[in-house]
């Protein structure tokens, strides 16, 4: 899988969106290489849907800019809308339509529609074309919605909590199909979710949002390499640690601190009584999620 690093799939530059007096997203800056599968993590209301809507072209930014494959997104224009496929939360579909009607809808509304792909998927999944959407199971509806997004053949796919309402088997089948599409090449995916445990196997890039602010942005491998779980004596001040302290748990005689430090500094700073452990994906994300969002004016961008 080669990434054309010269043109990032998605690039945000101090992106912000205000609703009335509240900022739904503020000062988001990041650059995601083509071919990545990005996990966009955050609690409900953190700004994930806002970020996706800005990317898709359903929303115009209040501040800053977002570009898809080098082209700045301008909301509600055909050019911008053509570049991103969007699967909104709860996979909205026209419930009175049949499956065939939904596919025809996709064909009518998208010049880039791949009819063979759409019909092939329905056949492979065993979903009858003449059945009404409201008569399908939740998992089947999600698959129809995914088909609509995939058959549009846009190079960027944005999924907003795609499996939240699905049972475990439907979830698995859904994600298998997304991974297959990624494996076929030419697709960058952004998955917004508040369920972290399942993201590790899918994502090689991570964006963590809380309170509208980006807490961390970077490739997963790098992030895991540059964070350590350090066990130190209780009195050790955070300033004495070889990196930024992300989260700290104090016991009677010792403290466990998750720090962001590059491995060279870490190795050099080892002291007796100190013990370093690698951090797991879920631990890392949780620590950043719990971090209070104030005082972070720029995302902690870890260069890849």
């Amino acid at each position: 899988m080669t990434h054309d690093l010269s043109v990032p799939a998605l690039r945000a530059d101090r992106l912000g969106k205000r609703y009335g007096r509240q900022w739904g997203l503020r000062d988001a800056t990041f650059e995601i290489p083509a071919g990545s599968v990005v996990g966009l993590v955050g609690p409900n209301g953190a700004g994930k849907t806002t970020l996706l809507a800005l990317t898709v072209g359903l929303l115009a930014p209040t501040e800053g800019q977002v570009a898809v494959f080098g082209e700045p997104s301008r909301a509600h224009t055909a050019d911008t809308l053509a570049r991103v496929s969007y699967l909104a939360q709860d996979h909205p579909l026209y419930r009175a339509f049949t499956v065939a009607d939904m596919l025809r809808f996709g064909a009518s509304m998208n010049p880039s529609w791949d009819r063979a792909l759409a019909q092939g998927r329905m056949e492979a999944l065993g979903i009858p074309l003449d059945r009404k959407i409201k008569a399908l199971s939740g998992g089947q509806q999600a698959q129809v919605a995914l088909t609509l997004a995939l058959a549009k053949r846009a190079p960027l796919l944005a999924l907003d909590e795609p499996v939240a309402s699905l049972d475990p088997i439907a979830r698995l089948e859904f994600m298998q199909d997304v991974m297959a599409a990624v494996a076929d090449g030419g697709l960058t995916v952004v998955i917004a979710s508040h369920v972290i445990s399942e993201l590790e196997r899918f994502c090689d890039w991570l964006l963590v949002l809380t309170g509208g602010r980006l807490q961390v942005a970077g490739p997963v491998d790098d992030l895991l390499a540059r964070h350590t779980l350090l066990t130190v004596p209780r009195q050790t001040p955070s300033a004495a640690l070889p990196g930024a302290s992300i989260s700290r748990t104090d016991s009677d005689r010792h403290s466990t601190v998750l720090i962001a430090a590059d491995p060279a500094r870490m190795a050099a700073a080892q002291q007796p009584g100190w013990h370093a452990d690698p951090v797991g994906f879920e631990q890392l994300v949780l620590a950043y999620l719990r971090r209070p969002p104030l005082g972070v004016s720029r995302a902690e961008v870890v260069a890849s």
Partner: protein
Amino acid sequence: MIWVTWRQHRTQAVICAGLLGAITIVAVALGVWMRSTFSSDGLAGCLASSGGAGCPAAISSFTSEFNGGAMMPLILALFVIPGFLGAVVGAPLLGQELERGTWRLAWSQTVPRTRWLVSKLALVTGGLVVFGVAVTLITTWSRAPLDRVSIRLQPPPFNFEGLSLTCSLLCAFGLAVLAGLLLRNTIGAMVAGYFAWEVPFLVVTLLNGPLHIMTATARMPCQAGCPDASTHSVPPVTGNLGDLVLDVTRSGNQMIVSYLPASRFWTLQLIEGGLYLAIAVAALGTAVWLLHRRTT
């Protein structure tokens, strides 16, 4: 967008077709019946020879037979249809998309939302115009004999002949579409759209009489010693069966008659239709503009 609009409004189109069919059947039956009574009462001959002056009794009985009972159901339907149908067709267009969240599907395809809305509105408006014109033509044909011997400058006939019905329908439609955008709710928008439409409807219907800007005045010599000419004589003192006589006063040897001539029909239709249409255009234009400028 043509297929998508058709598919989303298919049920409504079928209902309209059914409605049109029912109206056609009733109107044709009435029209045939009216025509047969017209000829059996000898009214054609009477009109040709004396312009109606020679058979006032026949005319009276004809008009009371058909103006009252027989046409009532059709008339009631036609009173209700524009407001009701316009609201029912208009409210879900934006209201249901916003209510059910399908806007996130509809507006993230490759068609920008403003173009989506304008295309839809153009197509649905076209369909409503076809429906309105068809109903107007059929009911006007049906009522033609009655129109020859009575007034059509007032409701009920004024409301469904000419431009009035179609423009009224579009007015209700436009208001309901706007209500759907503002309320993000289908049922609420239907109700709000309908009641908003009632305002111009009542204005137009209740104030229909006092359109005295269009009245004409005539001075006529009294014949046979100025009989008690009233506003309701058949034929009216002006001699034209279609005139609406508003006031007759005596002045010496003359009658001063103020009346609405039958020939004013189309002018008045243009005014009323124009009012409805202006509201429709304003409502739809506002909806398009608001959607275009929406930031969320």
